[in-house]
């Protein structure tokens, strides 16, 4: 793992590009997975959902604030019965759309202990983040997250500790190879 010393807030300087959903093809994996989670919320549905997030509930209020400016949330998680049900080539195919100059890999972690790999990509847009993508793979699980839209880092920071989101996400930047 190679990490340089810039906090994530420094990533907000790159050029603008219209925010849009990452095009991933899940067909092969879906057929092999034993369990699948599929969350697909486009802009209008997302805005509709925020109306049902309570302002009185502390956690929901923070999520509401965070997702208010988003244009889409897409999550796909595949669970497999045994290791080796998906290949490195499958994971590579998910990385491919993120190899464009718009995207930058900010974190890449790998654990030899449990074979877990997490990669975090950020799409810069204007003065903010225009999108976030996560590819997380474990021997029996593969998860892909794509958040489209301007992510308010203050709101993200406020969400620290809630729903497993870390406090003040000060991850460091890895230069794109």
């Amino acid at each position: 793992m190679r990490l340089a010393g810039l906090p994530i807030a420094m990533l907000l300087l790159a050029g603008a590009a219209p925010a849009q959903q990452v095009k991933w093809n899940f067909d092969k994996l879906a057929a092999r997975a034993s369990d699948t989670v599929d969350v697909s919320l486009s802009g209008s549905l997302l805005q509709f959902a925020t109306k049902f997030l309570s302002d009185d509930d502390k956690d929901e209020a923070k999520v509401k604030k965070l997702v208010g400016s988003l244009k889409g949330i897409y999550v796909r998680s595949f669970e497999f019965k045994k290791p080796g049900e998906y290949s490195a080539a499958d994971v590579d195919s998910f990385r491919a759309p993120l190899h464009s100059p718009d995207w930058q890999r900010v974190v890449g972690t790998h654990s030899t202990e449990n074979g877990e790999t997490v990669e975090v990509y950020i799409k810069s847009e204007g003065k903010g983040i225009g999108g976030l993508a996560i590819i997380a793979s474990e021997p029996k699980e593969l998860t892909l997250v794509n958040i489209v839209g301007s992510i308010d880092l203050d709101s993200l920071s406020e969400l620290g500790g809630h729903f497993g989101i870390p406090e003040g996400l000060e991850v460091e930047k890895e230069k794109k190879k």
Binding site: F48, V120, L159
Partner: protein, 100 residues
């Protein structure tokens, strides 16, 4: 046997109606009282009830869709958060190792 057949033939022979048959039928039809709803407000009440049912149904469906979308948002944030958390922990662990 023959007489029976004669009777049958006679009974079933073609018989033309009288010339004013059609007029008489039409006259009786127009003279017959038209059956109307006992209460004129019944159709209105039925329409209002249907509209109300439709409104309540669509509101209920909207609420169901909203709650479902909300659950999906919370699930998505939970999954995204947990993955970020793992990455952050790993980064912190490596940073801690390199500092010590």
């Amino acid at each position: 046997m023959e007489s029976f057949e004669e009777e049958l033939r006679s009974a079933l022979r073609r018989c033309e109606p009288s010339p004013d048959f059609a007029e008489r039928v039409l006259a009786r039809v127009s003279a017959a009282p038209v059956r109307r709803a006992q209460h004129p407000w019944v159709p209105w009440l039925a329409a209002i009830a249907a509209a109300l049912l439709l409104t309540v149904g669509s509101l209920e469906y909207r609420h169901y869709r909203g709650e479902r979308a909300k659950d999906q948002v919370l699930l998505a944030m939970r999954i995204a958060g947990s993955k970020l958390n793992k990455a952050q922990k790993k980064v912190q662990m490596v940073a801690h190792r390199s500092n010590s």
